[in-house]
């Protein structure tokens, strides 16, 4: 019930929109009984504040957030360690492959020499059932070619053909420089043949002088190691010498070069080597 003690409370509730319809009716009846309080009601209605809508938060964009650019995969628990281990394994395999390739390249130089010579001797032994005299000639031919540092892959029957010609024509006959291609079809039918690839080989004239022996080879001559090893060492030495020459060449190029630093068209400084 609205009284002179609590009417202000009713007025505030009315101004704030919190007075229900029954309360509004009671307050209306009370105000009709006390018209001198209407001015007070008007004052309460005036103490309502209005926002200043021109006052705004400047640079509102600084508060905005952007959508994430891509999908993020969240690694949790043991999956995280598994992913890390997998990555480490990939890196390790990559490093091993890289270093392994490098080593193979180095070995391949010496291996080629051995592999090209060995099958020839074997093929002579197994495929050709010739007289002992012929075999001796073949071995001598092999030795001569090694001394000349020419190491072609020669099929056994081709060597044999060459030897037969030598027997017929004698030692004074010069062999012309030509390419001969040996094929399996030319082999005699009664021979137990081993198939080889048809390889083009230069048949050198016998009068050709052996290649001059390099100083490195002379230095290695006294070593108590096999010829194959000496050749391997020799080739290794040649490879090192070639690399040293390349480094020297780069160094000489650098010596003859100036390094100029420019900003636009203006030269800042120049380094002379």
């Amino acid at each position: 019930m609205v009284t002179l003690e609590n009417y202000e409370e009713y007025i505030v509730l009315l101004v704030d929109g919190e007075l229900d319809t029954a309360g509004q009716a009671e307050l209306g009846a009370f105000m009709q009984l006390h018209p001198e309080l209407r001015e007070e009601l008007s004052l309460y209605e005036n103490v309502r504040l209005m926002p200043d809508t021109t006052q705004v938060f400047e640079n509102k964009e600084s508060l905005l957030r952007k959508e994430p650019g891509g999908r993020t995969i969240n690694f949790t628990g043991w999956f995280r360690y598994g992913a890390a281990a997998g990555l480490a394994l990939l890196i390790a395999l990559g490093v091993m492959k890289w270093t392994g390739d490098d080593t193979d390249n180095n070995i391949a130089v010496t291996d080629t020499v051995e592999h090209t010579n060995t099958p020839i001797a074997k093929s002579v032994d197994t495929a050709v059932s010739a007289p002992e005299q012929e075999e001796e000639v073949i071995v001598q031919e092999e030795k001569k070619k090694r001394e000349n540092k020419v190491m072609p892959v020669v099929p056994a029957h081709k060597i044999e053909v060459a030897n037969v010609k030598e027997e017929k024509k004698g030692k004074e006959a010069d062999v012309p420089e030509r390419l001969e291609i040996a094929t399996v079809d030319k082999l005699p039918a009664n021979r137990n043949t081993v198939q080889y690839e048809a390889i083009a080989i230069p048949v050198l004239p016998k009068t050709q002088e052996p290649a001059p022996i390099q100083p490195e080879r002379e230095a290695l001559a006294w070593l108590p190691i096999s010829e194959d090893r000496k050749e391997g060492l020799n080739m290794l030495g040649e490879a090192i010498t070639a690399q040293v020459d390349r480094v020297k060449e780069v160094r000489d190029n650098i010596k003859n070069t100036d390094l100029a630093v420019k900003l636009g068209k203006k030269e800042i400084f120049t380094i002379r080597f």
């Binding site: 505030v12 101004v15 005036n46 209005m50 809508t53 021109t54 006052q55 509102k60 957030r65």
Partner: protein, 161 residues
């Protein structure tokens, strides 16, 4: 609440929060810091706040931070630090608006915040109670006292004029 909804909250409520914080702290720079801090809190807790609850959440955080800031700095020159009202002010009497601004400065920080939430944002007593973590009856009492102070200030000024 996702990023898009968060940005909707920024565009809809940043200005209102700034005006509310300005009146609560009495200083625009402090108000900017308070609003930025409130949106930072909303961003961190966006997973727990639905879009329709965003406004109430923001006003709750802003209310707390503004009251704390005001208490720490103990400002008493609130009315003098505020800028002059703009010419486009919608209240019928610009003088009345200025008087009310000064009258608002007479209130303590809690009563001032309650009046602003009621008049600026039109929140009900129940909603104000949730935002300010007061009881409904406390809100009613605080607002009754605040309105009475404002009315008496207005009467006093009118008598002087």
């Amino acid at each position: 609440m996702d990023v898009k909804e968060y940005n909707v909250c920024v565009n809809q409520w940043a200005d209102a929060l700034f005006r509310f914080a300005c009146k609560c702290t009495g200083h625009e720079e402090d108000a900017r810091d308070v609003v930025q801090g409130s949106f930072e809190v909303l961003w961190q807790k966006r997973q727990d706040v639905a879009l329709e609850k965003g406004k109430a959440f923001l006003f709750q955080v802003t209310y707390r931070q503004a009251v704390d800031t005001y208490r720490k700095k103990g400002r008493i020159t609130y009315a003098e630090e505020l800028p002059e009202p703009a010419s486009s002010y919608t209240q019928s009497n610009p003088d009345l608006k200025r008087v009310l601004e000064r009258a608002l400065a007479q209130l303590d920080e809690k009563a001032r915040a309650l009046v602003l939430l009621k008049d600026y944002e039109g929140y009900s007593y129940e909603e104000i109670a949730k935002i300010t973590e007061l009881s409904d009856s406390q809100v009613k009492v605080y607002l009754h006292r605040a309105r009475k102070v404002l009315k008496e200030y207005l009467v006093r000024v009118e008598n002087v004029i």
